[in-house]
């Protein structure tokens, strides 16, 4: 009886030893990174299958050694299974981490905002490596919002692959460059910061000239109450009233001023308005 037990133990030990020996035929890396070369140790001959997220790699091997996987072949981060079919059939699981940041997806909202408003601009950045793997490790992201070279920069560390920021609009009007960057990767969006309505104090016109049949009126540079030029294209309505009736010109602001030609009159009153804001009143001709 003792001899039978002894023999059984020997068999079990041999089986375990064989199993250990076979396990050594497939050596997977512990710190694989997407986009970087990978080496998997094998023995004997057969076929190695690497099955990952949305990707399968097949390699034939002979007489053992290691199977080399090129960086550009290993594109997907996540859970991979290495399977060997050949002299022996084995499989092992290993994890591939995303590579270094190579691509940012940047959502900037809104595309137009009034100047000098708190927390009106939001930016959300998703950080990916060059093969579109979301980088879940905390990564510092720089957000820069600037108009005409002057602006603010803030660094936010990403969480679960996402970094976001709320920002005030600048006091200066213009097309703000909103840039998100990680290392040498950056993405720019344009946020148009627009002036408010014209400031009544500075909304004034004057007679700029005469032609044979017309009188030319022109505004002073039209600015909002923060001193920003009101956007080009904003309509300024000039209204002239005299004994022949009413004449109107919907002029557009061009380069900060609006200009209109009205019929010459010997006694007329000219007013102007932009939206709900009224400008000064002019009297031409008469006594």
């Amino acid at each position: 009886m003792r001899k039978v037990i002894y023999t059984g133990l020997i068999i079990a030990l041999c089986w375990f030893a064989e199993d250990c020996a076979r396990a050594a035929e497939l050596r997977v890396p512990q710190n694989a990174v997407a986009g970087q070369p990978l080496s998997i140790g094998t023995s004997g001959s057969g076929t190695l299958y690497l099955v990952g997220p949305g990707q399968v790699i097949k390699k034939e091997f002979k007489s053992g050694g290691s199977v080399d996987i090129k960086g550009e072949e290993l594109r997907s981060a996540g859970r991979w299974i290495a399977v060997v079919r050949g002299d022996s059939n084995r499989s092992q699981v290993f994890w591939v981490k995303p590579g270094k940041p190579g691509k940012l997806n940047f959502l900037a909202r809104p595309s137009r905002v009034p100047v000098a408003r708190p927390n009106v601009i939001s930016g959300v950045t998703f950080i990916f490596d060059q093969y579109q793997n979301l980088i879940l490790d905390p990564t510092p992201v720089n957000f820069n919002l600037s108009v005409g070279g002057a602006g603010t920069t803030k660094t936010v560390t990403s969480r679960e692959g996402v970094a976001w920021i709320d920002s005030a609009s600048a006091p200066k009007a213009g097309a703000a460059q909103f840039v998100a960057s990680v290392d040498d990767t950056s993405v720019a969006r344009v946020v148009q910061q627009v002036a408010a309505d014209p400031c009544e104090r500075s909304f004034r016109m004057h007679v700029a000239g005469h032609t044979a049949q017309n009188i030319i009126v022109e505004t002073d540079p039209i600015r909002d109450c923060s001193g920003n030029p009101v956007p080009d294209g904003t309509i300024v309505t000039f209204i002239q009233t005299d004994k022949t009736g009413k004449s109107t010109v919907d002029a557009r602001i061009k380069k900060d001023t609006a200009r209109a030609e009205l019929p010459a009159s010997d006694n007329a009153t000219i007013t102007m308005a932009a939206g709900v804001v009224l400008g000064n009143e002019l009297h031409v001709g008469g006594r």
Binding site: L104, N105, R112, Q192, T234, I235, S247, T248, V249, R252
Partner: protein, 365 residues
């Protein structure tokens, strides 16, 4: 035999000439003043300009080319896209040698019927009535350079190669400022104003859905040409939506629908509206008259005038429009007239006129 044939052919030739002469004189002969006007416009309707010109009195001092351009249109105006539909005449005054005929002319155009009323002077000339056609003065703009400080809004859209984070620029913010429903002539009319509050141009459409007391939709309409569809920043447009055959009492509620889209646009041309005044036209109807002045250097082929009338409380009480069948030449005033309901004329406290423009060489049209 040869002599006989010659005589036959000679007689035939003389006969044909005589028939042609008799026929020709018949087409230019009008025994009544309104008959002359009708006959002239019958030829116009058939595009027989030469035949129509035969009814024009020599004292008109208009050549056939100018007469044809008056009636067929010039410079790509709305008249060039129209067809004479009908003519009604009424003799206002008639003496032995002179008469005045009120002529109501209806044209079918691409944008609906167009009406024109003229008091035409008709004179007896060599025993037949002829129409004195007042030649339209053809304006020739002197050669010059008109500097235009061109303002355009161009848009860079999201490209096919952009990542999903690159979104298009947002649509403009527009707002319906007012809405007012009235019943006129058996139709429910909804009108008001809409403003582009943004700093970019907008293409807008405004509609309305009527629901009855059970909550069921009974009609849906949109404002087609009683609206400026392209609104520049801070521009205000009236709108009017007509529901023919619907009574106000049958409607429980009105649901306004709208769509604002960002579009490329140009701020040119600027069209001034001069000498606006409300007065009566030839037929005694109330109209808003004035002149349009194209301050740019390019021809505006089809001007479209929109008039908004307000009561003393500032509420929109009527929206009216009219297409001018004359093109706007640069720097040249062109009269316009927009109808106003006679029953509302007394309530009009103020009004506002805006002009849409359609130009053949414009990128926006």
């Amino acid at each position: 035999m040869g002599r006989l044939l010659a005589i036959i052919f000679g007689a035939l030739t003389v006969g044909l000439i005589a028939v042609g002469t008799v026929h020709g004189s018949k087409t230019t002969h009008a025994s009544t003043p309104d008959g002359a006007v009708q006959a002239m416009f019958d030829n116009v309707k058939g595009h027989d300009w030469h035949g129509a010109y035969a009814f024009v009195a020599p004292s008109s001092n208009v050549d056939e080319g100018g007469f044809t351009r008056d009636l067929a249109g010039r410079n790509g105006s709305l008249r060039t896209y129209s067809q004479l539909d009908s003519v009604n005449t009424r003799v206002l005054h008639e003496s032995e040698n002179e008469a005045t005929v009120r002529t109501e002319i209806k044209y079918a155009t691409a944008v609906g019927a167009s009406f024109e009323t003229r008091d035409l002077k008709v004179v007896k000339d060599d025993g037949t009535w002829k129409v004195v056609w007042p030649a339209e003065k053809e304006v020739n703009v002197p050669p010059q350079v008109i500097p235009v400080n061109y303002l355009r809004w161009d848009i860079i859209w999201r490209g096919a190669g952009d990542d999903w984070g690159a979104q298009n620029v947002e649509n403009p913010n527009c707002r319906i400022l007012s809405m007012h429903a009235v019943e006129r002539d058996g139709a429910l009319i909804i009108m008001g104003e809409v403003v582009n509050e943004d700093t970019v141009p907008a293409f807008i459409s405004v509609g309305a859905v009527l629901t009855d007391s059970s909550g069921k939709d009974i009609a849906e309409e949109s404002s087609f040409d009683k609206l400026s569809h392209v609104l520049l920043p801070k521009e205000v447009s009236p709108y009017r939506i007509d529901f023919p055959g619907i009574k106000k009492a049958d409607v429980k509620s009105v649901r306004m629908t709208h769509n604002w889209m960002l579009v490329p646009a140009s701020a040119d041309p600027v069209i001034a509206v001069l000498h606006q005044r409300i007065e009566k036209d030839l037929t005694g109807r109330t109209v808003l008259k004035g002149e349009l002045l194209n301050e740019s250097g390019q021809i505006v082929n089809i001007p479209h005038v929109l008039a908004t009338f307000y009561d003393n409380g500032g509420q929109v009480i009527w929206v009216s429009d009219a297409y001018s069948d004359h093109a706007l030449l640069p720097q040249t005033p062109q009269p316009f007239s927009v109808a106003l309901r006679d029953d509302l004329a007394a309530n009009v406290h103020t009004y506002r006129v805006t002009v849409n423009h359609y130009s053949l060489n414009s990128r926006e049209n």
